[in-house]
Amino acid sequence: MKPGGERIDLEAPLSGDFHAVVRLIIGGIAERVDFAFEEIDDLQLAVERLLAEAGTVGSVHLSFEVGENSIRTRVGPLSEDKVARALRDGEAAPGELTLRRILQTVVDSFGVDESEDGRIVVRLEKLKGFA
């Protein structure tokens, strides 16, 4: 039976040493939804780039809502202003490789929510391509 409606919450250190652990967990979750290798890689890359921009001090909360053919990921709250700016700014100029452009390429949709303390939470949605 395919999963649906489950949620996994994770508090992970921002230190780069733990990025591989987060990747592994994302792989495990995405495998349950039967994502393709490339789709898993895309979601891992999206989260990895967000974490890289979020600094290396403290920890970050990640939550994964597992649908039948999708994974909705929330990353944050993040305090880095530049992450918020990078995601809210308009379209990147041709040839520019911004965080926004990367996310536009590797996930199906993304958005930014403000948390109560003024920090941001980034929403990512990745759909299974051959449902």
Partner: protein, 263 residues
């Protein structure tokens, strides 16, 4: 077409006739870059010395890391050497670059020590995954799922996921560490290999400065992925690499670019 392995005919045409002439040409290119900010001269210097990087990288093959990944790390050392070269130095660029390249590679292995100690079975599974993914992609006409890869390799999805991380785990922190002057060198490693085999990516995009720090092949892969929006499978086909390798190069290139932006 394999962008990295380049165009041998044009390489022959541009091959200098002697080591002395090659050094003179390097000097002229270094002058153009350092005195006039000519980035095409820098680009050409990088390409002229990639064979040296490859030669040095081969010494570190067979230690649990793909040779092309080692070359990529070594290329960072080359770029640093070009950028730091002082024109009043009496040494050739190849001689100056060699310890930089070797230092970068050694630091990479030192920082990734944990990755090299993963169980052999997982390393072997990782090595066989590329072929399995290529076969399945061809057979299914799409990127395979983890369960399909596991089935193909007669193992479990969990082991496939673990193996995916073997050899691809990559620390951005390691690339932000300082210059390589403190690394110990073998005497042979201070002697530059001036083999003038050239490589050239034919289709260059106008890219931001951080992108210019990457080797032409990596820039082209990023352009195909994020400008053309091509999936990894198509990029892999175009550049003649495995999909797993393309994935690793994309991740590494993005991490390197970020390091550059923070400099």
């Amino acid at each position: 077409m394999n962008l990295h392995r380049g165009n041998s005919a044009s390489a022959d045409a541009r091959r200098p006739s002697s080591p002395e002439r090659a050094r003179e040409e390097d000097r002229e290119l270094l002058r153009r870059y350092h005195e006039s900010g000519d980035t095409t001269a820098r680009e050409e210097l990088i390409e002229r010395h990639l064979p040296l990087v490859r030669s040095l990288a081969r010494r570190y093959a067979g230690r649990g890391e793909a040779l092309e990944d080692i070359e990529q790390v070594g290329a960072i050392g080359l770029i640093k050497a070009i950028d730091r070269f002082e024109l009043d130095r009496e040494v050739s660029l190849a001689t100056y670059a060699t310890p930089n390249v070797v230092g970068e590679i050694k630091r990479h292995f030192r920082d990734k020590g944990w990755a090299i100690r993963v169980p052999r079975a997982l390393q072997e599974l990782n090595a066989s995954m590329s072929g399995a993914i290529e076969r399945l992609t061809g057979r299914l006409g799409r990127s395979p799922s983890i369960a399909e890869i596991a089935d193909e390799l007669k193992t479990t999805p969990e082991e496939v996921l673990e193996a995916m991380e073997v050899g691809s785990a990559y620390s951005t922190v390691s690339l932000s560490t300082g210059p390589s002057g403190d690394d110990e060198l073998d005497p042979l490693e201070t002697i530059g290999d001036e083999d003038a085999e050239f490589e050239r990516s034919e289709d260059r995009a106008a890219l931001e400065p951080a992108l210019e720090r990457l080797a032409p092949r990596e820039r082209e892969i990023l352009r195909m992925r994020f400008e053309e929006g091509l999936p990894q499978t198509q990029i892999a086909h175009r550049v003649g690499l495995s999909q797993m390798h393309v994935s690793r190069l994309i991740r590494k290139s993005l991490a390197l670019m970020r390091e550059e932006l923070l400099r």
